[in-house]
Amino acid sequence: MAEDKPVTLAAITGAHGVTGEVRLKLFGEGLEALSTHRQFNDGALTLKKLRDDGKGGAIARFAEVPDRTAAEKLRGTALAVPRSALPALGEGEYYHADLLGLAAVTETGEPLGSVIAVENYGASDVLEIERPDGKRFMVPMHTEAVPEWNDERLVVSAAFAEG
Protein backbone atom coordinates (compact mmCIF):
# COMPACT_ATOMS: atom_id res chain seq x y z
CA MET A 1 0.00 0.00 0.00
CA ALA A 2 1.28 3.46 -0.86
CA GLU A 3 2.46 5.17 2.32
CA ASP A 4 1.51 8.64 1.01
CA LYS A 5 -2.11 7.81 0.18
CA PRO A 6 -4.16 10.89 1.16
CA VAL A 7 -6.41 10.47 4.21
CA THR A 8 -9.33 12.87 4.57
CA LEU A 9 -9.61 14.18 8.13
CA ALA A 10 -12.23 16.93 7.73
CA ALA A 11 -14.22 18.97 5.24
CA ILE A 12 -14.94 22.68 5.10
CA THR A 13 -18.68 23.25 5.43
CA GLY A 14 -18.71 27.03 5.10
CA ALA A 15 -17.43 30.39 6.26
CA HIS A 16 -17.60 31.55 9.87
CA GLY A 17 -17.66 35.28 10.60
CA VAL A 18 -16.15 37.98 8.40
CA THR A 19 -12.44 37.50 9.08
CA GLY A 20 -11.83 34.37 7.00
CA GLU A 21 -12.52 31.60 9.50
CA VAL A 22 -14.17 28.41 8.26
CA ARG A 23 -16.41 25.76 9.81
CA LEU A 24 -15.15 22.17 9.70
CA LYS A 25 -16.90 18.82 9.78
CA LEU A 26 -14.59 16.27 11.42
CA PHE A 27 -14.30 12.69 10.20
CA GLY A 28 -11.49 11.24 12.25
CA GLU A 29 -10.59 10.90 15.90
CA GLY A 30 -11.55 14.50 16.69
CA LEU A 31 -10.17 17.96 17.27
CA GLU A 32 -6.99 16.98 19.10
CA ALA A 33 -5.93 14.57 16.37
CA LEU A 34 -6.60 17.22 13.70
CA SER A 35 -4.64 19.92 15.53
CA THR A 36 -1.43 17.87 15.28
CA HIS A 37 -1.33 18.59 11.53
CA ARG A 38 -0.31 21.97 10.10
CA GLN A 39 -0.33 21.41 6.32
CA PHE A 40 -3.28 20.04 4.36
CA ASN A 41 -3.83 19.12 0.70
CA ASP A 42 -0.11 18.96 -0.15
CA GLY A 43 0.62 22.30 1.49
CA ALA A 44 -2.21 24.23 -0.18
CA LEU A 45 -3.69 25.12 3.22
CA THR A 46 -1.73 25.96 6.37
CA LEU A 47 -3.60 25.77 9.65
CA LYS A 48 -3.11 28.77 11.93
CA LYS A 49 -5.80 28.32 14.56
CA LEU A 50 -8.28 25.63 15.47
CA ARG A 51 -11.01 25.58 18.09
CA ASP A 52 -14.08 23.60 19.05
CA ASP A 53 -17.42 24.94 17.82
CA GLY A 54 -19.34 23.27 20.67
CA LYS A 55 -21.48 21.28 18.24
CA GLY A 56 -19.16 18.42 17.34
CA GLY A 57 -17.34 20.35 14.62
CA ALA A 58 -14.56 22.92 14.63
CA ILE A 59 -13.70 26.47 13.58
CA ALA A 60 -10.39 26.90 11.77
CA ARG A 61 -8.28 29.71 10.40
CA PHE A 62 -5.90 29.11 7.50
CA ALA A 63 -2.96 31.33 6.53
CA GLU A 64 -4.10 31.37 2.88
CA VAL A 65 -7.63 32.59 3.68
CA PRO A 66 -7.64 36.34 4.49
CA ASP A 67 -11.37 37.15 4.32
CA ARG A 68 -14.90 35.77 4.17
CA THR A 69 -15.03 35.77 0.36
CA ALA A 70 -12.05 33.45 0.18
CA ALA A 71 -13.50 31.32 2.98
CA GLU A 72 -16.81 30.91 1.13
CA LYS A 73 -14.96 29.66 -1.95
CA LEU A 74 -13.49 26.79 0.10
CA ARG A 75 -16.88 25.35 0.98
CA GLY A 76 -16.88 21.60 0.25
CA THR A 77 -13.09 21.30 0.27
CA ALA A 78 -11.83 18.13 1.91
CA LEU A 79 -8.78 18.45 4.17
CA ALA A 80 -6.40 15.58 3.57
CA VAL A 81 -2.98 14.64 4.89
CA PRO A 82 -0.63 11.94 3.61
CA ARG A 83 -0.97 8.57 5.32
CA SER A 84 2.67 8.82 6.42
CA ALA A 85 1.80 11.92 8.51
CA LEU A 86 -0.52 9.96 10.81
CA PRO A 87 0.87 8.92 14.22
CA ALA A 88 2.43 5.47 14.59
CA LEU A 89 0.17 2.63 15.67
CA GLY A 90 0.42 0.50 18.80
CA GLU A 91 0.33 -3.28 19.02
CA GLY A 92 -2.80 -4.70 17.38
CA GLU A 93 -4.01 -1.28 16.22
CA TYR A 94 -4.95 -0.34 12.66
CA TYR A 95 -6.24 2.68 10.82
CA HIS A 96 -9.60 2.20 9.11
CA ALA A 97 -8.14 3.96 6.08
CA ASP A 98 -5.46 1.25 5.77
CA LEU A 99 -8.07 -1.51 5.42
CA LEU A 100 -10.10 0.22 2.71
CA GLY A 101 -9.44 -1.21 -0.74
CA LEU A 102 -7.62 -4.31 0.54
CA ALA A 103 -8.28 -7.53 -1.36
CA ALA A 104 -10.17 -10.07 0.74
CA VAL A 105 -9.28 -13.74 0.33
CA THR A 106 -10.25 -16.95 2.09
CA GLU A 107 -7.76 -19.01 4.09
CA THR A 108 -7.13 -21.09 0.96
CA GLY A 109 -6.36 -17.98 -1.11
CA GLU A 110 -9.67 -17.82 -3.00
CA PRO A 111 -10.53 -14.18 -3.85
CA LEU A 112 -13.65 -12.81 -2.15
CA GLY A 113 -13.66 -9.16 -3.19
CA SER A 114 -12.39 -5.96 -1.64
CA VAL A 115 -13.00 -4.02 1.56
CA ILE A 116 -15.20 -1.00 0.86
CA ALA A 117 -16.09 0.23 4.35
CA VAL A 118 -15.20 -0.11 8.00
CA GLU A 119 -18.08 0.55 10.39
CA ASN A 120 -18.62 0.34 14.12
CA TYR A 121 -22.18 -0.02 15.35
CA GLY A 122 -21.32 -0.51 19.02
CA ALA A 123 -20.31 -4.17 19.06
CA SER A 124 -16.96 -4.24 17.24
CA ASP A 125 -15.46 -2.98 14.02
CA VAL A 126 -17.21 -4.50 11.01
CA LEU A 127 -15.73 -4.75 7.52
CA GLU A 128 -17.98 -4.49 4.49
CA ILE A 129 -16.66 -6.53 1.57
CA GLU A 130 -17.90 -6.24 -2.00
CA ARG A 131 -17.72 -9.32 -4.19
CA PRO A 132 -16.81 -8.98 -7.90
CA ASP A 133 -20.50 -9.49 -8.79
CA GLY A 134 -21.48 -6.45 -6.70
CA LYS A 135 -22.96 -8.36 -3.76
CA ARG A 136 -21.80 -7.28 -0.34
CA PHE A 137 -21.37 -8.95 3.01
CA MET A 138 -20.01 -7.94 6.39
CA VAL A 139 -17.38 -9.52 8.59
CA PRO A 140 -16.54 -8.67 12.22
CA MET A 141 -12.96 -7.57 12.77
CA HIS A 142 -11.94 -10.18 15.32
CA THR A 143 -9.40 -12.98 15.26
CA GLU A 144 -11.82 -15.79 14.43
CA ALA A 145 -13.24 -13.97 11.40
CA VAL A 146 -10.09 -12.18 10.21
CA PRO A 147 -7.11 -14.28 11.27
CA GLU A 148 -4.54 -12.04 9.56
CA TRP A 149 -4.02 -9.15 7.21
CA ASN A 150 -1.15 -7.21 5.68
CA ASP A 151 -0.67 -4.32 3.25
CA GLU A 152 -1.90 -6.34 0.28
CA ARG A 153 -4.61 -8.73 1.45
CA LEU A 154 -6.96 -9.55 4.25
CA VAL A 155 -7.71 -13.16 5.10
CA VAL A 156 -11.33 -13.96 5.99
CA SER A 157 -12.31 -17.21 7.65
CA ALA A 158 -14.53 -19.36 5.41
CA ALA A 159 -17.29 -19.60 8.05
CA PHE A 160 -17.69 -15.81 8.00
CA ALA A 161 -17.30 -15.38 4.26
CA GLU A 162 -20.75 -16.73 3.43
CA GLY A 163 -22.43 -13.60 4.70
Partner: protein, 91 residues
Amino acid sequence: MARSVWKGPFVELQLLKKAEEAQDKGARAPIKTWSRRSTILPQFVGLTFNVYNGQKFIPVSVNEDMVGHKLGEFSPTRNFPGHAGDKKGKR
Protein backbone atom coordinates in the same frame (compact mmCIF):
# COMPACT_ATOMS: atom_id res chain seq x y z
CA MET B 1 -44.00 0.27 31.19
CA ALA B 2 -41.15 -2.12 31.92
CA ARG B 3 -41.50 -5.84 31.32
CA SER B 4 -42.65 -7.85 34.35
CA VAL B 5 -39.71 -9.45 36.14
CA TRP B 6 -41.45 -12.81 36.59
CA LYS B 7 -41.50 -13.34 32.83
CA GLY B 8 -37.73 -13.10 32.48
CA PRO B 9 -36.01 -11.53 29.48
CA PHE B 10 -37.56 -12.16 26.07
CA VAL B 11 -35.57 -14.21 23.60
CA GLU B 12 -36.72 -16.12 20.53
CA LEU B 13 -36.67 -19.79 21.58
CA GLN B 14 -35.23 -20.97 18.27
CA LEU B 15 -32.39 -18.49 18.58
CA LEU B 16 -31.68 -19.58 22.16
CA LYS B 17 -31.57 -23.20 21.02
CA LYS B 18 -29.12 -22.39 18.21
CA ALA B 19 -26.92 -20.36 20.56
CA GLU B 20 -26.80 -23.11 23.16
CA GLU B 21 -25.96 -25.68 20.49
CA ALA B 22 -23.15 -23.46 19.21
CA GLN B 23 -21.77 -23.00 22.73
CA ASP B 24 -21.88 -26.76 23.38
CA LYS B 25 -20.10 -27.57 20.14
CA GLY B 26 -17.69 -24.64 20.46
CA ALA B 27 -18.75 -23.50 16.97
CA ARG B 28 -17.85 -19.89 16.21
CA ALA B 29 -19.63 -19.53 12.85
CA PRO B 30 -22.10 -16.63 12.89
CA ILE B 31 -25.76 -17.38 13.66
CA LYS B 32 -28.08 -15.71 11.19
CA THR B 33 -31.16 -14.15 12.80
CA TRP B 34 -34.01 -11.81 12.00
CA SER B 35 -34.94 -11.53 15.69
CA ARG B 36 -33.81 -8.02 16.53
CA ARG B 37 -36.10 -8.01 19.60
CA SER B 38 -34.30 -10.85 21.35
CA THR B 39 -32.46 -9.91 24.53
CA ILE B 40 -28.75 -10.73 24.73
CA LEU B 41 -28.33 -13.37 27.45
CA PRO B 42 -25.13 -14.28 29.32
CA GLN B 43 -24.95 -17.56 27.39
CA PHE B 44 -24.57 -15.58 24.12
CA VAL B 45 -21.21 -14.10 25.16
CA GLY B 46 -18.47 -15.03 22.69
CA LEU B 47 -20.87 -15.84 19.84
CA THR B 48 -21.39 -13.84 16.67
CA PHE B 49 -24.88 -13.17 15.33
CA ASN B 50 -25.66 -11.90 11.86
CA VAL B 51 -28.56 -9.59 12.68
CA TYR B 52 -30.83 -8.44 9.86
CA ASN B 53 -31.44 -4.69 9.60
CA GLY B 54 -34.07 -4.85 6.88
CA GLN B 55 -31.51 -4.74 4.11
CA LYS B 56 -28.46 -6.78 5.08
CA PHE B 57 -27.05 -8.89 7.89
CA ILE B 58 -24.72 -7.09 10.27
CA PRO B 59 -22.32 -9.20 12.34
CA VAL B 60 -22.65 -8.61 16.08
CA SER B 61 -19.93 -10.16 18.23
CA VAL B 62 -21.37 -10.41 21.73
CA ASN B 63 -19.29 -9.43 24.76
CA GLU B 64 -20.18 -9.16 28.46
CA ASP B 65 -21.07 -5.47 28.31
CA MET B 66 -23.87 -6.17 25.82
CA VAL B 67 -25.85 -8.52 28.08
CA GLY B 68 -29.37 -7.17 28.69
CA HIS B 69 -29.48 -5.15 25.47
CA LYS B 70 -31.44 -6.25 22.38
CA LEU B 71 -29.66 -7.63 19.32
CA GLY B 72 -31.27 -4.95 17.15
CA GLU B 73 -29.48 -2.18 19.05
CA PHE B 74 -26.23 -3.22 17.36
CA SER B 75 -27.65 -3.47 13.85
CA PRO B 76 -28.83 0.03 12.90
CA THR B 77 -31.42 0.42 10.18
CA ARG B 78 -30.09 3.78 9.03
CA ASN B 79 -26.53 4.59 8.02
CA PHE B 80 -24.67 7.89 7.69
CA PRO B 81 -21.62 7.25 5.55
CA GLY B 82 -18.50 9.35 6.04
CA HIS B 83 -14.77 9.24 5.56
CA ALA B 84 -12.64 6.76 7.48
CA GLY B 85 -10.30 9.65 8.38
CA ASP B 86 -7.72 8.79 11.02
CA LYS B 87 -10.09 6.52 12.96
CA LYS B 88 -8.27 3.71 14.67
CA GLY B 89 -9.36 0.20 15.52
CA LYS B 90 -7.87 -2.32 17.92
CA ARG B 91 -8.30 -6.00 18.52
